[in-house]
Structures are given as C-alpha cells and as structure tokens.
C-alpha cells in the first residue's frame, strides 16, 4: 500500500480529507504511483502532470524520506520506505507557485 500526501487544494478537488493510499502493481516509481493516483482520482489528471507529456508541473515538487525527488527520472524506483508504506510520497506546492 502506497501512501500519498497531497496539497490541500488537491485534497479538496479529489474530495479526500487526509493522505490517500493506493495499490501499485509492479515497480513503485513516480510514474506508477502517479498513474495509480490519477486512475483512482481522475479529477487530478492535469493538475500534477501535464495531460499529454506527463511532465511534472513546474511549481510542484515530489518529496519522500526527506529527499527532493522532483528531478529523478519518472521510472526510477522510489525509496523502499515508500514502497513498503512506511513513508509517504509527498506532492508539494513549490514556494514559487501560485499567485499573490
């Protein structure tokens, strides 16, 4: 079971209160986790990754285990602590995002 923590605005959009849990088949990577997340919560499509290119939106970051994984290749395995459910995969709104 993979744990994912979303920013508050995306929790509102997805109608969830706290962190979400996902079943991921195969290797646990950014891509497989986000695929499973969008599969379960389709309203989040396009809000984390571009609809077509699947690239991370510029002002979102991916953290886990106190590491910034935003620039890791999408198919690189996530830390074992994330794969085991011990630690969550964090989607974070960057300080530079949003508007005044």
């Amino acid at each position: 079971m993979i744990r994912v923590v979303l920013p508050q605005h995306l929790r509102t959009l997805a109608h969830v209160q706290n962190e979400v849990t996902l079943d991921v088949t195969g290797p646990v990577t950014q891509r497989s986790v986000l695929d499973a997340l969008e599969d379960r919560y389709p309203m989040l499509k396009g809000t984390i990754r571009d609809h077509v290119t699947k690239e991370r939106r510029a002002f979102l970051r991916f953290f886990a285990c106190e590491e910034d994984l935003s620039h890791d290749p999408p198919d690189k395995p996530l830390p074992p602590e994330v794969a085991s459910g011990k630690e969550p995969f964090l989607v974070i709104g960057a300080i530079a995002g949003g508007s005044l």
């Binding site: 605005h9 599969d39 396009g46 979102l60 960057a94 995002g97």
Partner: protein
C-alpha cells in the same frame, strides 16, 4: 419578481451575489474554490442554473467547474457524474490539448522576437451557447478557441483559428497571449467573434472552421506597421444582441466602433480623458448607449486622476459623460480588468463592475448612481450578471 445573480471571479476564489429586482440588498456567497484564481464564470442563457467556471492555479493548472443549481453546488464535469467501466469518474474536463491533426502545432512570436510553440496555460473566458446548455466555448491562453458539447466534460479545439496563416505573427501582451473575448451572434449561429491580445479581432462565418482578421481601421503605434492586418492589442469587444452587426471595442489605446460586423472600425474616443482601458459594455436596451472606464495609461494601470469614473455615451461614442455619483473621487487607484463589467436586462438596465481593489459596484439606473455591492474581496478578475425571472 425578477432576481439578479452576479458572478464574480477573483484572484482567490469565486463569489456569487444575489438580489431581488430592486437591486438594493445583496446576499454574498463565497468564497467558492478558495485560493484559486477564478478567471471567469458565466451562466447559460437557456438554463440559468447551469453555470460554468474557470478555476486556475499556478501550481495545479486548469480546472473546469460546473453548477447545475445556480451555483449552490459544483462539480468537475466528468469528474463526478460520468463513470468508466469500473465505476470511477472520468476526468477529461480540464484537458485542453491543441488539435494537431487538422493544424500542426505552430509557433507564435515570443517576447524576444523568436518563435515559440503554443502552450496551454489557462481558460480566460467561458461563453455558453445561446441555444444549448451543454455547449460552451472556452477562450484560452495561448490563444485558441475550444468547444465542449457535453457540458464541459471534454473539449475540442476549433483549430482553424490557431491555424490561421497569421499565427506566427501573433504575440503575447502583458497578460499573456490570451483569447479573452468570445461573442456569439444571436442572429447567425455560424458567426462567432473572438479577440486576442495581441493579435486582434477575428470572425468566423462558418461555425469556427475558417476565420478572418477583422482589424481594418485599427491603428496601433506599438507595432511596426500601425495599420497591420494583425498584431493589435484588443482588450475587449462588446455587442448588444439586438443590433448584432454593431461592435464596440476597447483597444489597448483607443475606443473603436464597427457598424459592419468588424469589417471596418473607426475611433469613437471623443472627449474621454484617456482612451486606454480594458472594459467596454453596451446597455441592454439602448444599443447606442455604451460604457467604458478610462485607465490612465499602459504603464499606470489605475483610473485617471485618482477618480473612479464610468464614462457613458448615449450617442454610440465620441460624446461621453462622466458618471461619478457614488464612486470614489479621490485617492482611488484601482484598475478594472477586461471581463469585469456586465449589464443586466432589467428595466432600468443595471450596470456592474469589479475592481482590482476588491469592490463590486452596481448601478440600478443605467449608471446615474452607484453603490458598492461588496467591498474588500480579492482583486476582481471578472463579473457576469444573470437576470432571473
């Protein structure tokens, strides 16, 4: 008794203001979609309970919201109602992908003079169909026109516009290269007008298949050829549906008028203190009565002389009177953005506008006197009005 519903989009959420036909006491609902930029909300003319909303964010991109009960509840169309085979909701309502089958993903002029590929950023304007509540048009940045025929669940680009041969010469204005104005001709279902900053105005007479620039008569000193076919920074265009061949335009500088569906334009700035501005609108019952709010200049985006004045012309332009009763006449330095003025269809016609200072002003007597409906909202991006029977 008639009612009025004012839909206000702000930098940090949506607000819905309602009143009876007297338009004296107002209920304020909101913020909806707290923290998101609400570029535009607009209701269907054939089903006023159907309202579309453009919700955007620098972090999370574009979301389309839809209400079917007049703004009491909202849903992401396709995100809650339609289910796939497993029972999960489908989510395509925020998928704005340029149609590269009909027209290749071309480039436009970038700030540094190089060519830059089209990139979707946000929906600036939603224009519901005049006849079908499930059909709605979206004007987007980078400039293109999309259409949904299923209530906003999915979108297709009318790519003949972006594919227009002049596209490589279009360039972003200060707010980005946005398609901000969509006007549907009530007398001709195949005719649509749009305007882009900074490309100009365009018209289709075949439902969006082909488009022609309609900028003859516009003069813009900030482009190499002031009379060029395209490149003009049109800020807003307005039409009274009872006289659909007549259009009024607030350009970057200059207030303009066309009597022939945009084929030719002539200036009607007349005695305005400055002819820079963003909004322009037409009285609901008097097609020759128009409203603008002059802004000091393109580098000083606030009202002239610290006075918030709406200017009204009852002669279709050139002769303007300042409307100040109830509006601040000192130390006022707000702006009124291009989609932030609207009119109701009551008698007398109501006029509404919102400021970057967060006030929404209303006049229930066609502009003779004004009152703030609400103060101290986040900066207002858009104002639309629904007249409800």
């Amino acid at each position: 008794m008639s009612k009025v519903r004012v839909l206000v989009g702000t930098k940090k959420g949506a607000f819905i203001l309602t009143s009876d036909g007297k338009r004296e006491k107002w209920d304020v609902s909101g913020p909806h979609f707290t923290g998101w930029e609400i570029y535009h909300m607009k209701g269907s003319p054939v089903d006023p309970n159907r309202i579309y909303c453009s919700q955007t964010s620098g972090w999370f991109g574009q979301v389309i919201q839809r209400s079917s009960d007049g703004g009491k509840t909202w849903e992401t169309p396709g995100g809650g109602m339609e289910k796939d085979a497993r029972g999960w909701p489908k989510g395509e309502s925020n998928k704005f992908v340029y149609d590269q089958k009909a027209h290749a993903l071309t480039t436009h002029q970038w700030y540094d003079g190089t060519q830059h590929p089209w990139e979707f950023k946000r929906v600036w304007h939603l224009e519901p169909s005049l006849t079908d509540p499930d059909t709605v048009y979206a004007g987007v940045e980078d400039a293109a026109l999309f259409r949904s025929t299923n209530g906003g669940s999915t979108w297709e680009e009318l790519s003949g516009l972006r594919g227009h041969g002049t596209g490589p010469k279009w360039q972003p204005g200060a707010g980005g290269m946005c398609l901000h104005t969509v006007i549907l001709d009530p007398s001709n279902p195949k005719r649509i007008y749009i305007a882009i900053s900074a490309a100009g105005a365009f018209r289709t007479d075949d439902g969006g298949e082909t488009w022609k620039p309609i900028n003859r008569g516009l003069k813009s000193q900030y482009i190499p050829d002031p009379n060029a076919e395209i490149g003009h920074c049109v800020h807003h265009v307005a039409m009274n549906g009872k006289r659909p061949n007549t259009l009024f335009m607030q350009k970057h500088w200059d207030v303009m008028r066309s009597n022939d569906c945009g084929e030719n334009w002539h200036e009607i700035s007349g005695n305005l203190p400055t002819d820079f501005g963003f909004v322009i609108d037409v009285h609901a019952h008097e097609p020759e009565t128009i409203y603008v709010i002059p802004i000091k200049s393109d580098s000083e985006h606030f009202v002239h002389e610290g006075k918030l004045r709406v200017y009204r012309s009852r002669t279709g332009g050139n002769e303007w009177e300042a409307l100040t009763n109830g509006l601040p006449q000192s130390n006022c330095f707000v702006n009124v953005l291009r989609d932030a003025m609207a009119v109701d269809s009551l008698d007398k016609c109501g006029i509404y506008f919102g400021t970057t200072g967060g006030q929404v002003y209303a006049s229930a007597d066609a502009g003779d006197s004004w009152n703030p409906i609400v103060r101290d909202l986040p900066a207002v991006l858009s104002v639309e009005v629904q007249t409800l029977s």
